[in-house]
Symmetry: D3
Subunit: 196 residues, 6 copies
C-alpha cells in the first residue's frame, strides 16, 4: 500500500529558528527527552501565546500524581479522545498511557470501549464521569458526584477528572480541525517489553 | 417566586486574601473595570495554575481585533455555549456580546438559533464552522474551509473561529460540571440605551 | 453592527383590515393590553381557521392557575422551546415568564439549562417530565408518572405538563419553519424593577 | 398468545352522557360515519376545551384538497408518526391513508421508511420537508423551500406540509404520553378490495 | 394513486434456471410451502455462498422453540427492524409474527413502539435487551443480564435474544442498502381469521 | 498496574475435545496457521450451527481479492468496528489490516477517524459508503452509489462494501454483547518490520 504524503497540520508550521526563544527551548527539551518532537508542539507554534497557555494548562492537569496517578490521567485522555475521534490524541496519548501504566494492552482497550477494558471498577467510575463531561456535561449533577465518592474519589479528584476531560474536549477539536498528524514514533511506543 | 440560596460553584471558593498575589491583582483589576467580579474568576481561583493558563488562553483568543471583530468572537462563544447548554457562558458572554455589538437583541438570537439571527451571511458562515468544530469536529474537512474562503475569511481567521469554539468547548464543560452560576449583573448589561 | 432588514415571517402577513372580524378584534385587544402585537398573531393570520384553533388551544392550556401556576406553565414553554431552538418562543415566553414569576433571571436560566436554574426540586421534576415529552415522548412510562407523584403533582397536573410540552412542540416547529421573528419589545420586558 | 387487558388511555375517559353537548354530538357523528369511535375522541374528552381546539385544528389542516390531496396529507401523518414512534397515529392514520390512496401497501411502506415507498419523487420531496420539520425544524431554511419549489409545490403547499408535520408533533406526543390505544378496527381497514 | 414500477432489488436477480441446484431447490421448497417466493431469497441469489450462509444462520436462530417461542423470536425481528427502518423486514416478519402469535395486532404494535404493545412484562424485558443490542450494544453490561434473569430468561435465552437482534442488524442493513422490496403477499397475511 | 483476571467471553466456552469434529478441525487449522486461536472461534463454539454459518459468511466476504483487495476489506471492518466501539474487532482485525496492508499505522488511523487516515480518496469513498451502511443504512440511496461509481467502484464492489459493513454490524454486536476479549497476541502483530 502506498501512502500519500501528508503534512503534520493544515496550518503553517514555522521553522524552529523563527520561533520565540521560550518555545524553541521547550521544543528542544522535549526532543532531547523523547527523541522526537511530538507534532502538537509544531502545530501550535504559529501561535506563541496560545502555545504557551496550552502547555501551561496541560502540565497543570497532567504532570501531577496526587489523587489520580499519571496513568489514570492518560486513561481519561485516551477514552475521551476515542469518543471524539481524535486520531492525534488517541495515538500520542495511547503511547504515553502504555508507558505510564506499563501495560501494552490498556490503551487500545480504553480507546475503543473502556467498559470492556482490563481496569478496576474504580477506574471505570472515573471514566464514566469523564465521558459524561466530554459528551453531555450539561447533565452532570449530584448523582454523578455521589458515584465518584462511593468509589473513593474525593471532590478534588472529581475536579481533576472533569478538568482533564474538558481540556481534551478543546485539544481534540483543535487537532481534528487542523488535521494534526500523530508522529510515526508513537505507534510502537510502550508495546515491547523494553518500553513497558 | 422564592429563590433557593445557591452558591457560585460546587467547588471551593477561596477568600481573596488567601490567593496568590497575581490572582488577587487580576481579580481586583476586573472588579475595578466592571464593577463586579465575574464568578468564573472566583470559581477557578482554587487552582491557581489552571486559573493562570485559562485566562492567558482566553485573552490570547478573545482580546484581538484582527480578522474577526471582538463582537464576532463573542458571537462564537454565545452560539456554541447555547448548543452546549452552558448557562454561565451564555449569560456572561451574552452581556459582553450586547455591549461589543452595541445591539440589545443579537445575543439572545444567537444563543437560541443563530440561523435565525439578524447577522450577515458571512457571520452565519463563521458560526456554521464554529458549530461544526463544537459539535462534530471529527468531520471538519476541506469543504468547510472552502465555504469560509468564499465568505472572505482567511486561513488565520479560520484558526481563530475554530480555536474559540474549541476553547469554549472546554470552558462550557468546566462551568457545567462545577455548576458555576452567572452573576446577577450580567442579565441586564447592554440591554438599555446607556449600556449599548 | 448593522442589522439586515428582516420580515416577521417568510409567509404572507395580511393587513389588519383584510382580516375576518374575530381575528381583528382579538389582535386589537392584545395590542390594547400589551402595547404591541406579538408577531405570532400576525404570522398565523393568513390562515384564519388555524389561527382560531391555535389560540383556543393555547388559552385552554396557558390561562389557568389550577395545579400549575401560570409562571410554571411558562417555564415549561421556555425550557422546551430552548431545547427546540425556537427563537420566537424563547424570547416571547421568556418575557412572559419574567413577568409572571416576578423574577428577571429565571427565564434565561431555564432557556439554557433548567437543571442549573434557581427553581425548586418540584419544578425540576416538572421540567424533567416536560422535556421527556418534548424530546423522547415514545419512552414516557409509569416510572415518569411515579416521579411526578413523589413531588406532589397530580395526574391532572401531569396532563397539563405534557400537553403544554406537546402544544409547544407544534408551536416551535411552526415558528422555526416560518422564521417568525420575536418583537423587539419582548427582550427587555420583565427585566427592570418596574416591570417585575 | 394471551393479550393483557388494556385501557384506551391512562387518563380518565368520561362517559358519553357526561360530556358537553357539542362533544357528544361530534362523537356520535363519527360513530355513525365510521361504525366505531376512534379512541382519540374518547381520550381527549376529559378536557372539552382542548378537545374542541384539537379537532378544529385537525380539520383545518386535514379536510382540504387544495394543493395536497387528502391522501398526501395522511402520508405526512404516517411518515412523521412513524419517526415519532406513535402507535395510535400510525395505526389509525395508516388506515385512513390506505382508504384515501386506495392502496393497501403504501401506509406500511411510508410508516417504516418512506424513502423506499412506492410514491413519486414529488411526494418524497414533500416527505423530506415534513420529516425535517418533525425532527430538526431548527435547521429548516431557504434551501428546503427551493427543493419543494423544484417539485412544483407552492409556498401555500409548503405551509400545509410543515403545519401538518407540526400538528402531529403535538398529537404524537399526546398519544405517547397518555398511551392512547388504537382501536382494533383500524388494523384491517383499507386492506381488502371491498375497503379500498 | 398510480404506483411506479419497482424492481425487487437494485442488484441483479438471476433467473431460477441459472442458480446452483441447492439454491433452486430451497427456493422451490419455499414457494411450495408459502405459495410465493419471498423476495429476500431472490435478492441474495446472485451471491450463492452468502445466500447459503445467510439462511443457515437464519434457520439456526429462528427455527427453534427452546426458551423463546417462535413468535417471540419474530417479535425481536419486528421491533429491531422497525428501529432500523427496514421496510422488507418489518413487512415480511410482521406477517410471520401475526401467524405465529395468532394475533392480528401485535406486529404493527411492536413495529411502531413495543413499549405500548399488548405483550407481557417479560416480553418487554426481552425487547428492551434486543433493542439495546440493536442500537447501543457497546453499552450492554451486567445490569442488562440481571434484568433478563429477573424476568426468568436464562443465559442461553439471553444469547438467543441478542444473537437474533445482531443477525437482523445485518439483515436490515442489507435490505436497506439493496432496496429489497417486500412481496405484496405479506401485507395481508395473518390479518384475517382464517390466517390466524 | 495490576490487571484483573478476565475470561474470553461471558458465555460458555466448551473444551476442544467436546466440540463437533468440523469445529475442532477448523480451530486446530487456525492455530496451526496463526500460532494461537483467535477468541472469536472459542466464543462461538458453544453454538455449532451459528459457528458454521458465521465463518462461512465471513469467508465468503473476506477471503476474496476481486474488486476490493483483502486489505481494503479489513479497512471496512476496522472503520465500522471503531464506530461501533467493538474492542475485539478493532484489535483483531486491526492486526490483520496491518499485515495485509504491510503498513503499521493505517489500522489505528482508520479505527479512530478514517477521514484523517493515510489512504486514497477512492478508499475514503469506500469507507464513507461502509460507514453509512453501518450507521444509517435507512438513508442509503442512489446518490451514494453514484459517488462510488465516480471513484471507480463497480456495483459488485458496492455490494461487497455494504455486505462487509452489514456482516460486522452483526459481529460487533455479538462481541459487545458477549464481552469477547481480544487475544493478547493481536496487539503487536504487524507493527514490527518482520511482521509487515
Amino acid at each position: 500500500m502506498t501512502t500519500p504524503q501528508v503534512s503534520l497540520s493544515r496550518f503553517p508550521v514555522p521553522e524552529l529558528k523563527h520561533l520565540p526563544e521560550d518555545l524553541r527551548t521547550r521544543i528542544l527539551a522535549v526532543q532531547e527527552k523523547s527523541g522526537f518532537v511530538p507534532n502538537i508542539f509544531l502545530a501550535l507554534a504559529h501561535r506563541p501565546d496560545e502555545f504557551r497557555a496550552f502547555f501551561a494548562y496541560h502540565d497543570a492537569l497532567m504532570e501531577k500524581e496526587a489523587g489520580l496517578t499519571k496513568a489514570e490521567r492518560e486513561m481519561i485522555v485516551v477514552a475521551t479522545s476515542g469518543a471524539n475521534q481524535c486520531q492525534y490524541c488517541v495515538v500520542a496519548h495511547g503511547a504515553i498511557l502504555r508507558i505510564r501504566a506499563r501495560n501494552p494492552y490498556v490503551a487500545d482497550q480504553v480507546a475503543v470501549n473502556y467498559r470492556k477494558a482490563d481496569i478496576t471498577p474504580r477506574q471505570k467510575a472515573m471514566l464514566d464521569f469523564a465521558m459524561k463531561v466530554a459528551l453531555e456535561a450539561e447533565q452532570v449533577g449530584d448523582a454523578d458526584y455521589a458515584i465518584l465518592r462511593e468509589h473513593g474519589w474525593s471532590e478534588a479528584d472529581a475536579w481533576d477528572i472533569g478538568a482533564i476531560a474538558a481540556f481534551f474536549a478543546m485539544s481534540n477539536r483543535l487537532a481534528n480541525m487542523a488535521s494534526i498528524r500523530p508522529n510515526d514514533e508513537f505507534y510502537l511506543l510502550g508495546r515491547l517489553p523494553k518500553n513497558s
